[in-house]
Amino acid sequence: MTVEVSKHRELGLTDAEFELICEKHGREPNGVELAMFSLLWSEHCSYKHSRKLLRRLPTEGERVVMGPGENAGAVDIGNGHAIAFKVESHNHPSAVEPFQGAATGVGGILRDVFALGARPIAILDSLRFGELDSVRSRHLLDGAVRGIGHYGNSIGVANVGGEIYFEPPYEHNCLVNAMCVGIAETKDMVRAAAAGVGNAVVLMGASTGRDGIGGASVLASAELGEGDEAKRPTVQIGDPFEESKVLECCLELLEKGLLVSLQDLGAAGLTSSAGEMASAGGVGIDIDVAQVPLREADMEPFEIMVSESQERMLGVVEPARVPEVLAICEKWQTGSAEIGVVTDSGRFRILRGDEMVGDIAVEDLVDGCPLYDIEPVEPNGWAYGNETTLAAGATPEDTLLALLGSSSIASKRWAFEQYDSVVGSRTMRRPESADAAVLAIPEAGNAIGVSIDGNGRRVACDPYAGTVEAVLECAQNLACVGAEPLGLTNCLNFGNPEKPTPAWQLDQAVTALADACSALGVPVVGGNVSLYNEGPEGPIYPTPVVGMVGEIPDPEQVAGGAFANEGDTIALIGPFEPTLDGSQLAKLRGELDAGLPQPEIKAVAAACLTMRTAVRAGKLASAHDISDGGLGCALAECSIAGGLGCRVDVAPLRERGCSPEEALFGEGSGGFLVSGDREVLNSLGATAIGKVGGATIEIAAGDRSFSVGLDSAEGAWHSLAALLSDPA
């Protein structure tokens, strides 16, 4: 089947790329081959605009068990066990169909983790939408949360944390990033590389349909007539029950040593899964599409090869053990079929029975895509808009209530109560009870802290400083629960890299990520890049999302975020020197502008060590990182959580050169808000600022002193549900 030249453009390949394919391939690719090239040479699969940048990231460390390039990263947690984790995006599908987009995002990241042989034990999610006065954004938020809940709850993996932000630049391009954490015995973990010439390739899980084919439908042999659109869906449909069956099946197969290698099927389906397995193993692979269990009878070979039907896994099995594998699949009521064989040809051959329908050199397909240099150009000043929603003359009380009630800061209880946060019996800190999720790891006699963080707005002000802050924020959150970071995963959500400003943002952010990780000694063990997030009004805020896992040696010593005892001293730890640059207050006032102070990484790292040590020694009654909304909001959050007010004077921050307003609502790295015994806090070098007690939050800030009732603060902080039901 030969193809008209212009078809490659409809599939997203440039003329130059198409010529290169023809050159490497030795001839023009046929329809099946062209479909496969177009997908594996797409940005999503090839990372052609980001791969050179990602080489800057530090990926090595003595606790690293699996690094970038495998299905997920993994770190050693002790006693022969490893913690696997990764974050991935599903932005564009979620904007089209938020329920299924978010659900299948969760499904995909779960598969990445159990593809290593790790049992998923936790999910976290990082979501971004436009402001809630938009019907569309309310619809997307509602659908995404229901979708994440549906998938995670049904499959029985606890959702233990996350974040949700609302900013105008995400209105036409929402972000749905899903993180999964899993546990494995290190010796049972498996890599993706196909190995063993003559070994069988077995497809497990759901049958294959037309999910996700959309764009490639230009290659259909039959002309699409009116009403045929229903045949070519673009949205993948997730089935968590199918996933739970194939998950248990795969874990049992790995436990019994029946799989040589394992890979999940995600973007570009069989093409990427089989292709990447072959490439990693330096082998060839033959796939017979006639053996693939189909959901619809009349599927063409190219459709079978590019389908993104969910809940499917690809395994490599020694021929003698194939019957056992099929029997275990049968036991778990999950589909299975031997669909191919590992060869030494170095080629990826697609057959339909005896007929050869495609034949590509593995190297050309998987590694042949050219890698591009981006062309960064720093923009002049603030490249996004501003909107004023808080009057200039607002009192400090009204300002605090406005900040607490702003959708990005308000409690996300409405969302996390839709998630099962306790299944698995490991959750020691449920959502919003501490700055990081805490999961018991009895297998190693310890526990882990997990956090996912990002702040697109601050990265937009200064991509370098903002990205460093994101890494530090994650480390600070872990420090509040006594966790030492072991590894980091990241999802880089940016605009069009072929345009100068997003290119500059990406370049700065990756450099910052590399610098911060190196300075902290935290390796990057995996991640994901999502580019071309642009709407008609321009790109999203550059949004690097960072996920970290840290070790907690003694699960009994983990602080919470709530003020605990009347009379406890309240104090600050760390090199906190807040400014209003890029702050939530600046946003509400419509005063956002380019520029952020540069964080002092080493000083913040030292404060994290102080905090971690103090928490582990049980010296703190409460520990909370100061972030959105500054000290004022942090104090309110600790008070609301504990049902105890406070009386505080911010004079010590004024001594660091902050104005009253900066001391109250300014933001920046390095601030920890703690409470406990006065003498103990003194010995830690903490700066006392007040006491816990009463039913009001009273803050003395020079000429901006004020008092807010605990009830009012709580009402403002729990206003998200009301924002969602009020169509105004």
Binding site: S244, Q418, V423, S425, R426
Partner: protein, 224 residues
């Protein structure tokens, strides 16, 4: 005490239930295709989404071979505890009265709630607080999307009169619109108990309250 915890394709909390049971004795999983319950002294039907909640939650599980054996076990007076999806299975199997419908808010809800123990079985699960007040509560998480207990008024009147209401949600804490705040019920014989909240997620001080362990202890007394 030897416990058997049923496991269906789609069960989620069976390992958590297994762990809770093993704090009090020996416990093993019973695969849905097994009929042999020999040696088992108490059965737990765990939470989750058995068979993907196909048709209705619990509708398929009730026809499994294991549930056939459990029905016989219950008829002979054996203690059976159904948690969340397990409660749904027991209602579908007509081993307990009533049915569980979609939550009033039409959303899944995961939240710690206080329960008021009511009948003789549940009274055994009240934590000692040094008070002789009858209205003590236990603290246990709920996590479900279809937990609204419903039965016709005549049935509700009968189970209330018959001492079959095991637990009610504390005032103001009914998370799903359950009729008369009913959170759990027992059968007329008192050996089959079903409840929507999850006692198996309240057995470890590191992860929450420990009130749930008493529910399993009370099951041991039913067996005795």
């Amino acid at each position: 005490m030897i416990w058997g915890v049923l496991q269906f394709p789609g069960s989620c909390d069976e390992r958590d239930a297994l762990h809770a049971c093993s704090l009090l004795g020996e416990a093993r999983l019973v695969w849905h295709e097994e009929r042999d319950l020999s040696g088992i002294e108490a059965i737990v039907i765990p939470g989750g989404f058995s068979y993907g909640d196909y048709l209705r939650a619990g509708a398929i599980a009730r026809f499994s071979p294991a549930m056939g054996a459990v029905a016989e076990f219950a008829a002979a007076g054996g203690p059976v505890l159904g948690i969340c999806n397990g409660f749904q299975v027991l209602c579908e199997a007509k081993l307990l009265p009533g049915a569980l419908l979609l939550n009033e808010d039409q959303r899944f809800l995961c939240r710690q709630v206080d329960l008021i123990p009511e009948n003789a079985f549940a009274a055994e699960t009240t934590p000692e607080r040094g008070s002789s007040s009858k209205r003590e509560t236990i603290s246990v998480p709920v996590k479900h999307g279809e937990g609204r207990y419903w039965a016709p008024d005549s049935v509700l009147d009968a189970i209330e009169a018959g001492g079959q209401v095991a637990y009610r949600y504390a005032p103001g804490q009914n998370p799903n619109g359950s009729a008369r705040d009913v959170a759990g019920v027992s059968n007329a014989g008192g050996n089959v108990i079903g409840l929507m909240p999850h006692p198996e997620h309240a057995v470890d001080p590191l992860t929450g309250s420990t009130d749930g362990l008493r529910v399993f202890e009370a099951m041991q007394m039913v067996a005795a």
